[in-house]
């Protein structure tokens, strides 16, 4: 059923008895042309764009738990394309353009809200760095504005402008950045992919990747063997574990990242704000909770939770930027597992195993990348060639010395 105003009206008149489940709960077929492991945002987006733009035959998405149970439902919902390096900007800008057309394309309300992302700067050197970043964005056709202190203060009056240690000097604004309802992204892609015939198989954990003569033939799962002519991995957080089933070692460490939500408040923060002197970023959800986060905990982890020193550090950043939130009560905090790569940038590439494709290493920037990640991964799987905007995200770039290190901190995954 296509969702529309007319459909809502029709269902209102008949007591909402006509709504159908948004997707089928498929049982696995013996074989598919393409199997995607991972029923999160990236996997579902990949399946959707494969079915929508490429003719690859039967497609399945297998998910070990329920649909959208991983990082797609555990992030802070921010979208932006304010990157610095040439390998990154066109990719994230494609993602932004896909976000802008997403709801029409998948016929689902994902609450895409381009409310603006403000990166605050606190020193002359940081202004220069943000001006450079803004110029790099504009050279690639991305919107960016450098705001001085007075302009910023007129827009966002409640920041601690007089802070003695971290005085606010201005901000880099990407007005097209914003937030998207994260769960709805998974549900929207799932429903749209399902309507194009993709089988979404939940509660189906992959236990092995079968190969013959160096080429993938299928997967062993808790629901039996599923044959696959091509296999795509989109399991960020567990990429090393799943890739090891095919004998691969990846340039990735798994780390815990925490996020936080306060009690619901009246509308207060109508954009996304990041603190430049520490790691803290905040927005307000449509339910009213302040959603914020900061740095990784900094040590390898597969436990989806963090520790108190990081919570203290994040909250100190928040208090230095906007002391008014000090009395808001925290109602929830949680951790997610991030694929942290050795240069802080993702991987969308073929692997040394034939017909095995890898989408991994999203660090803590995977949510905003969801549409372009799916779009480019679908292109790679269908055409067997890299999409031009994902051309830098090669698996062999570490051996080749072509790293994409936005922060310039080297092979230290906990610092990216």
């Amino acid at each position: 059923m296509k969702y529309s105003g007319l459909a809502v009206l029709r269902e209102a008149l008949r007591g909402h008895t006509g709504w159908k489940p948004a997707w089928r709960d498929a049982t696995p077929a013996p074989e598919y042309d393409v199997v995607i492991i991972g029923g999160g945002g990236h996997g579902l987006a990949t399946a959707f764009y494969l079915a929508r733009h490429h003719h690859v035959g039967r497609i399945a998405v297998v998910e070990k738990s329920w649909l959208g149970s991983g990082s797609i439902g555990r992030n802070t919902t921010i979208i932006r394309s304010n990157y610095l390096l040439p390998g990154n900007i066109p990719f994230y800008e494609l993602s932004m353009k896909l976000w802008e057309g997403l709801e029409q394309e998948v016929n689902y309300n994902a609450m895409v809200s381009q409310r603006g992302v403000y990166n605050i700067f606190h020193s002359d050197a940081q202004r220069d760095a943000y001006a450079r970043r803004g110029n790099a964005m504009r050279l690639h056709g991305v919107d960016a504005q450098l705001l001085d202190r007075a302009t910023l203060r007129a827009k966002i009056p409640y920041l601690d402008y007089e802070n003695a240690r971290f005085p606010i000097q201005g901000a880099l604004l990407q007005a097209r950045g914003g937030t998207v309802r994260h769960d709805a992204v998974a549900w929207g892609y799932a429903r749209a992919a399902d309507r194009l015939g993709v089988d979404i198989i939940q509660n189906c954990e992959v236990t092995g990747i079968t190969r013959q003569n160096g080429s993938v033939t299928g997967i062993e799962t808790t629901r039996g063997f599923i044959g696959a002519k091509k296999l795509g991995l989109a399991v960020a957080g567990a990429s090393s574990l799943v890739a090891s089933m095919a004998g691969l070692r990846l340039p990735i460490e798994s780390h815990a990242l925490q996020a936080f939500v306060t009690e619901a408040l009246k509308p207060l923060i109508d954009n996304v704000i990041t603190f430049g002197a520490g790691h803290f970023y905040i927005s307000q959800s449509d339910k009213g909770g302040l959603v914020f986060g900061g740095d990784l905990d900094g040590y390898n982890s597969y436990a989806a939770r963090g520790n108190l020193p990081t919570i203290e550090d994040v909250c100190e950043g928040g208090m230095a930027l906007m002391p008014m939130i000090g009395r808001a009560r925290l109602v929830r905090h949680w951790g997610g597992i991030m694929d942290m790569t050795m240069d802080g940038s993702p991987i969308i590439d073929k692997t040394p195993v034939e017909n095995l494709y890898l989408n991994a290493g999203w660090c803590y920037g995977g949510f905003k990348a969801t549409p372009a990640s799916g779009f480019c991964f679908a292109h790679l799987i269908a055409q067997n060639t890299t999409h031009e905007v994902a051309g830098a995200y090669r698996l062999d770039r570490f051996a080749e010395g072509r790293l994409i290190d936005e922060k310039g901190v080297g092979a230290q995954p906990n610092l990216h």
Partner: protein, 83 residues
């Protein structure tokens, strides 16, 4: 999470700096030319779940380098020794 330093006793996480997987072995050839061994050492990790041997530096304590074994699924510290 607390680490029991062999010199200082049980201390909070904020006293320590993390330096990652303790198991990769630095190649002995000096690194003048790029090799597969160097790529492995610098970039590739097993990244398995459960018991993980890792290096921690007691920066706000005795400045010792520690080799810690920790369960990545629970954060339980199973062993601490001088690196």
């Amino acid at each position: 999470m607390r680490i029991t330093c062999p010199h200082c006793g049980q201390r909070g996480l904020e006293e320590f700096l993390y330096h990652g997987d303790a198991t990769p072995q630095r190649p002995s050839d000096g690194g003048a030319t790029p090799t597969v061994e160097w790529t492995d050492y610098v970039y590739l990790r097993d990244n398995k779940n459960f018991a993980h041997e890792e290096l921690w530096y007691h920066s706000a304590g005795c400045h010792a380098w520690l080799r810690v074994t920790r369960d990545l699924s629970t954060h339980e510290i199973q062993d601490v020794r001088q690196a």
